[in-house]
Symmetry: C2
Subunit: 493 residues, 2 copies
């Protein structure tokens, strides 16, 4: 057995453990009775521990040094194995465990602190989380030759650096400063949106969401649609599990949510089966993943073309006055721009402002230039600078997201990199795919999805974020496509 | 860290892996889209492989030799650790893998062979399964100092031997030879049962089954009730998952099935939490497990007392003519005796005959006294001897059960040992628990379940099958209680 064959077998076991853990996470969110939580935590901790032990076992380093790859895919696979090993081997078990405990303790307090809008309640626990993250970042930085913040960001979207992100975000901030007031003025001059009346019975929403997920391209033999408080896409490439939440007063939450998660699910479904359970056979990172959900939800399904198909189907499903279901009205309701405090409720235009704020704050936190007690003031000041609004309390400010309280630093940029990549990929797909929008107007996403399968899904993790964009669109990340999309959608009277 | 502490930590990880595998098995049966099967097999194989590696790692033998236990529970725990290690360490990995492949190949062919009633189709694959089981049994026999067949039975119900089972089964066969014709005559002299009319809408069955599971003692925070083709009880002690199948023409299948699975689930729920994920904190074996499902289903819920409570509730749930729901009629419908070919459809009285047949055949198969090609003839001859009937084809004969085709030899006796233990435990519970039957007549199982919790569930695997019965009932397994129960129920005009 060659060193590479031994490594492939080992990484396949690691991936199978991660698949098992993924299923158990899905189950915990969608199925598990609450009394199972403590046992589930033990199961997941055991799987994570064994997976880590397999990755850093003494013989791995020697095999990684000796292994020889043939061809581009094998070479990429070996490179990703080396990267995974380097990221894990530099972290002492004691630090990993301290960090896991800190994250878990902080996350619990965060739920109470958010409910009470009381940042002081969680601040000491968050400081401990941050202390761990700073030490992890310092050790990763030494091992990888990246800056501490970049080494954290690399854990979510390999290979992307703050130096690449910064000018992109600065350009967007400048664009938004002009665009937002204009978009608001244009919107104000149009007829007010007619709210969709409801109620929307959960059973009818469920049937509709399921049929839309299938229409988008998910095969019944390979996915489930269930319910959980926080929608997500989990599972494995041959068995994707998407969840949603049915609000009988607002059909948009489940409907657009399922389209979003279906984009994630399609990506997982389309990963190269020949490389299943190998590093190169997995998704290329969280920014690429977000691009796949947003291209389906934001680019395709909120387009005029798709809404013109969807409106009559919605009216058919829910009945009542047809006026709210007119495509122009759906566009007004579902593409409304506004300055809000909450990231997850934000529209496409202002969403990046929320991300830019967090990117700047988390960089400063990791660099030691900002401390936890200073966070609420820095948050509110940043929010005023970006959107001109001040959160009335920290629940609508720095307490709103779970991420930092759960130890996730360096993740936020992925949302906006994904939104920008989605626009860039859509522009490229349109340019080479005849009849893409005509198909959307027939409720047919297959030309778009076919292109994505070839250019993104089937590529696995062979290419980094920038190279993937370069091969698919002819250029690295270019926010111009996203701004052009927003200009067409929000800045045209 | 002491040797015992190291072992406890190791067995806790092994148990967590087994819990994870249990959840994934449940998911595969109750939730998974069919396209996920291949990936699921990989995940389960990985979990099983790692679990086995943890168990037979070189340092375990030294720790087991050096460990010192304090107190009865620790001693029992250490004894069970040694047993688990001894059972695993004597089997070479190549044999374990060959056997797993043989089982999996045979099980697939068995499904086709059963559907076509074509034993020849599966016979070669079954011979390979048997060859593996014979070799496994020989190695276990050397390591454990048990006979080959006993060493397989020990894997399902630790400590019980064929020498103990044989006279018990012989006595039952003699009893049945007299009892069955008498029961049939008594039954024929009574009014014919009125079939329950139906249809029984699945939604109403679901609600009823759920409320019955709760009534039996399962807490909503700690169980789920779902659907699968083959009903079972899975999950973990704090998160039990029972499944059933709703047949709209026959409410008994789900109703009595859920009561049966609830008995298994109560056992898991009641295992000693202080010993969670340790060998001694787990169920005492499959015969004990079956005693817990049968005491709820057969002893308690098919009793006159409980049927007198249940009848009116069923009529309330499904409406229509009240006559079929009269307790005497339910007793006639759900306690009907008959000579049938199919074990899983058999009544309480003839069920042991099906088990006795299999016990004798599988002993002969493992001993090399019977070969696979001779099985159909031996089966049919045994069936004639025990019940006086001859299967019209092998689908109704030796192809009916999955067990041997899946490599499970030595499991069948657990069904009848469990039925006998259930009767013995019920007699003991009745003797010391005031008002047990009066409570059943109010639909209240709590006096019975409270006694079972203390005497069986909370004992974990501290005691073997015979010692558990001895402590709970004052004597080892004694089929007289089962025969007395059957005499009261079926042999009294």
């Amino acid at each position: 057995m060659t060193a590479l064959a031994r490594l492939s077998a080992r990484f396949s076991r690691i991936a199978a453990l991660e698949e098992a853990a993924g299923m158990l996470h899905w189950d915990a969110a969608a199925m598990m009775p609450e009394g199972g939580a403590a046992a589930r935590a033990e199961q997941l901790a055991t799987l994570a521990g064994l997976s880590h032990e397999l990755l850093i076992a003494p013989e791995v380093a020697a095999d990684l040094a000796a292994a020889e790859a043939e061809g581009e895919w094998q070479a990429a696979n070996l490179r990703l194995m080396r990267r995974a090993h380097a990221r894990a081997a530099c972290l002492p078990t004691a630090l990993v465990e301290r960090s896991a405990r800190a994250n878990s303790a902080c996350e619990k307090l965060w739920r109470r602190a958010k409910a009470a809008a009381d940042f002081a309640l969680v601040a000491p626990a968050l400081s401990e989380v941050l202390a761990c993250q700073r030490e992890i970042a310092a050790r990763l930085s030494d091992a990888l030759g990246l800056s501490p913040y970049d080494s954290l960001m690399d854990g979510h979207q390999p290979g992307v650096t703050a130096a690449e992100v910064e000018p992109v975000f600065a350009a967007y901030e400048a664009f938004l400063r002009e665009a937002l007031p204009r978009a608001e003025a244009i919107q104000a001059a149009k007829p007010a949106p007619i709210p969709l009346p409801g109620p929307f019975p959960a059973a009818a929403q469920r049937a509709l969401c399921r049929s839309l997920a299938e229409r988008v391209g998910l095969e019944p033999a390979h996915f489930r649609l269930d319910e959980s408080l926080h929608p997500f896409c989990g599972g494995t490439p041959t068995d994707v599990r998407i969840t949603t939440f049915y609000d009988e007063a607002d059909v948009a939450k489940a409907l657009l949510g399922v389209l979003h998660e279906s984009g994630h699910a399609l990506y997982e479904r389309g990963l190269p089966a020949a490389w299943a359970r190998q590093p190169v056979g997995q998704a290329a990172g969280m920014a690429v993943h977000e691009s796949q959900s947003l291209i389906i939800e934001m680019q395709a399904c909120r387009s005029d073309a798709f809404l013109s198909w969807l409106g009559p189907r919605l009216h058919e499903a829910f009945g009542g006055d047809p006026a709210p279901y007119a495509p122009e009205n759906l566009a007004r309701v579902w593409r409304r721009v506004g300055r809000g405090f909450i990231r997850v409720d934000a529209d496409e235009l202002t969403y990046p402002a929320h991300v830019i704020l967090r990117f700047r704050l988390e960089r400063a936190l990791i660099a030691g230039e900002l401390e936890v007690p200073e966070l609420p003031a820095a948050w509110n000041e940043g929010m005023r600078g970006l959107l001109g609004i001040t959160p009335p309390d920290d629940a609508k400010g720095c307490l709103q997201d779970i991420h930092w309280h759960d130890g996730a630093f360096g993740y936020f940029p992925s949302y906006t990199l994904g939104a920008m990549a989605a626009a860039q990929l859509m522009a490229a797909a349109r340019a080479v795919t005849a009849g893409l929008d005509e198909a959307l107007a027939r409720g047919d996403l297959s030309p778009l999805v076919g292109w994505l399968r070839a250019k993104v899904h089937a590529q696995g993790a062979r290419l980094g974020f920038q190279d993937l964009l370069r091969e698919a669109t002819g250029k690295p990340l270019d926010p111009a496509d996203f701004m052009a999309h927003l200009t067409r959608r929000y800045l045209t009277a």
